[in-house]
Amino acid sequence: MGEWSIAAAGTAGQGVQTIGEVITVAARKQGYAVFSWKEYESRIRGGQNSYRIRVSEDPKNAPVERMDIVLALNMEAAEKYGFLVKRDGLLLAPESSNKNALAMDFQALANESAGKKIFANAAAAGALAAAMGMNPQGVKSELAARFTEKGAESVAGNESAFQAGYDHAMALCKERRTPSIPDRDQRPEALTNVHEAIAIGAAYAGCRAIFAYPMTPSTNIIGQMAARWEDLGVFWEQVEDEIAAINMAIGASYAGARAMTATSGGGFSLMAEGISLAGMTETPLVIVLAQRPGPATGLPTRTAQGDLQFALNAGHGEFPKIVLAPSDPKEAFHLTVKAFNMADKYQAPVIILTDQHLSDAHFTQDIHPEESEPEYHLARDCENPPYRRYAITREGISPRMYPGQSEHLVCADSDEHDESGHITEDLFNTAPAMAEKRLRKIKAMEREIPEAFTHVPSKSEIILMGWGSSGNALFEAAEQLTQEGRRTGVIHFTHLWPFPELPPLQGEKLFSVENCAFPQLARLVRQETGLSFTGSVLRYDGLPLTGTYIRDLILESL
């Protein structure tokens, strides 16, 4: 048993995506778990991008730093990504540049075998399959499947070039230790993606409408709704700006529809006033904030966890909100259902934090939808007429009906209001009572927040605390450190607000691990618990945290 990490790199348009996808699918069909992710520039053509694949027998759903094989489709890619190759790894590139490099002129191979240079990426795929020690038939038939639409000539050309690349590399690779991926008699779990899980989870949770404005890396959520409209049945609208998006979602939600929006940092900034509106009017609302490095436009196609404190505090004035952060598609699915349930129950905005890494990564992981259930909280009728939208109750939750449901009128107001929803200027009773009523909901919400996920073996020396996207990387780092004699535990937050309980700690050294530059989780934990941190592992180069990255920085700082 082993695991293999591969990168395919090249210019946008050169076929990196295709290579990555066929290898992924073929490896899965051979019985392996695959984790893949992408990193790419903010442009449509050109630049150098890479598609990373991790193949293993059991799912290993986290990115890694170094690769067994890097396939570079051009020499700039080789230049840019060559350093990724492990000491005993392999660089496959058009020309040889260092001792780990195998030179293969993919274009020449394609030209010779298939008569056209444009089959170069098929030749490269063949070379990669050979270097990985994959079953070439599998990759070949995936390749064929993708090109049947383009006609027999295209399929044949791809096939010949693939074979040429494969043969050539087999000959060259013999002397080299390369990964080997023999057929396995095992079906891996499903291949899943976080934003897809959110879209499907939302549909399952009864979401009826999404309003959004395109913004990387959030666009694929509304993209799923649009492309899979027949399946998901969620109404979607691309709107004129993010302010419209959140206000339309609020309008739809007020009118009784489960509704959502999705955006990234800049768009989320523009939504702050709307979040406050949802807070005041007590309108359920689910907002996905897919983070990317800021400030401002920042690095639009890269990843970060730099919006935590902003998400926690977004919107003027004081009102309850809920902040959740999945680390994988399974959590994403279940937290999405929970987000809709809680938004509905507590009549409050719920923010789901993801990021570019989660947006583009694919996980090997089964999701069992039946583990979550949509719960609906709209009042079917008014129990104590006259109906008052903001009736003051013990827990702060008022029965919510929708306009047009019956003769009970639903009156919502962004001004401070009385129980019936009308503007109040009564500072003695109504106004403070309403503020209290809204904040009282926090107490009730807290009961649905589980203790932070904690895996701290006794006698641990170190605890790594992280949140959201870095979950699996944290565990890999802890495992590595523990194996190296530094017993390490993990506390991982998928629920960030209301802030969860922590287990009692035993004086372990605490490190926050964050995909940003200015520790935000550490500040939150200290604010809520008074705990002090020994340090923080921070990554702010636009790339995701990995086990090795964390381990290295922890060892450095001990």
Binding site: R228, V239, A249, Y254, A255, A257, P369, I423
Partner: protein, 284 residues
């Protein structure tokens, strides 16, 4: 119930100045609802913030009184979620053409089934008298002691060029016409705009007589089907404001219409989510 009372009366004290022409809009709207046989639960008023935007509080019906400038998107969400509601936006010139300008522009294109009533007093009344987008150039306002310099925004022309199929202007001094316009707008499918000239008697951008001197019904021979001449009339703003129905075309397909049809006009609140089975299948 007294003679004047109606289904839509509600016992909420008004925050408007006594005698404000906003009351004319309010009463005319209530009467129009009655005339159309609507009931309070059939209606959803949506507003932003401003004096105008307080109107929903004074009428018995469903309402959402949202943020300054954001009535149209909220109303669009309401209209998408429940096509059975008569969704009406009541807003001010600042709310709709200032802070909310982008939504105005795109609502005209999107064409949700909404009646949009703008109390156009050419001033920010609630914040004490600043210029609004419809203030004429050269006029003195709270933050323009030497007079504004920009020409006013022309909402009627903007609506006409953007595909709106019902464009009208009313005047609080002509409540008979206003009632007609409201009723026509309320029955028009898709977005209908009624910009209402509403003098503010407290900040007095102009004395009442000023408005009376300038308001004129559109000439009898004005053909509201003729877009070019509607546009030409809308561009006339200097000395006269014509009131009446500038432009009316066959309704374009309303926003979300095909989705509503497909769902048999069921409110989204009553629709089912994705079944467990289908969810499971999609997650494979």
């Amino acid at each position: 119930m007294s003679d004047n009372s109606n289904l839509f009366d509600i016992d909420v004290p008004s925050q408007w100045c006594p005698g404000c022409p906003n009351f004319t809009i309010l009463e005319t709207l209530k009467k129009s609802f009655t005339a159309l046989g609507l009931k309070p639960q059939d209606i959803c008023l949506v507003s932003g913030i401003g004096q105008a935007a307080k109107l929903p509080h004074y009428i018995k019906c469903n309402f959402f009184n949202g943020l300054h400038g954001r009535a149209l998107p909220v109303a669009t969400g309401v209209a998408a979620a429940n096509p059975m509601l008569k969704t009406v936006v009541t807003t001010g010139d600042g709310d709709c053409y200032g802070e909310g300008g982008n939504h105005f522009l795109h609502a005209m294109r999107r064409n949700p089934d909404i009646t949009l009533i703008v109390h156009n007093n050419e001033i920010y009344a609630l914040t004490k008298g600043q210029a609004s987008p419809t203030t004429r150039s050269g006029e003195v306002r709270a933050l323009n002691p030497q007079g504004t310099t920009a020409p006013p925004f022309n909402p009627l022309a903007a609506a006409i060029i953007s595909g709106c199929t019902f464009v009208a202007r009313g005047f609080t001094g002509d409540s008979a016409q206003l009632a007609e316009l409201f009723q026509a707008a309320l029955t028009h499918e898709g977005l209908s705009l009624v910009d209402v000239v509403q003098p503010c008697i407290t900040w007095k951008p102009h004395p009442l007589q000023w408005y009376k001197d300038r308001a004129k019904r559109l000439p009898d021979d004005h053909d509201p089907q003729d877009r070019a001449s509607a546009l030409a009339m809308a561009m006339e703003m200097e000395e006269t404001f014509y009131t009446g129905l500038y432009y009316r075309a066959d309704p374009s397909p309303a926003f979300a219409g095909s989705c509503h049809e497909q769902r048999a006009y069921l409110p989204m609140a009553e629709q089912q989510g994705l079944s467990l089975e289908k969810t499971r299948a999609l997650l494979q």
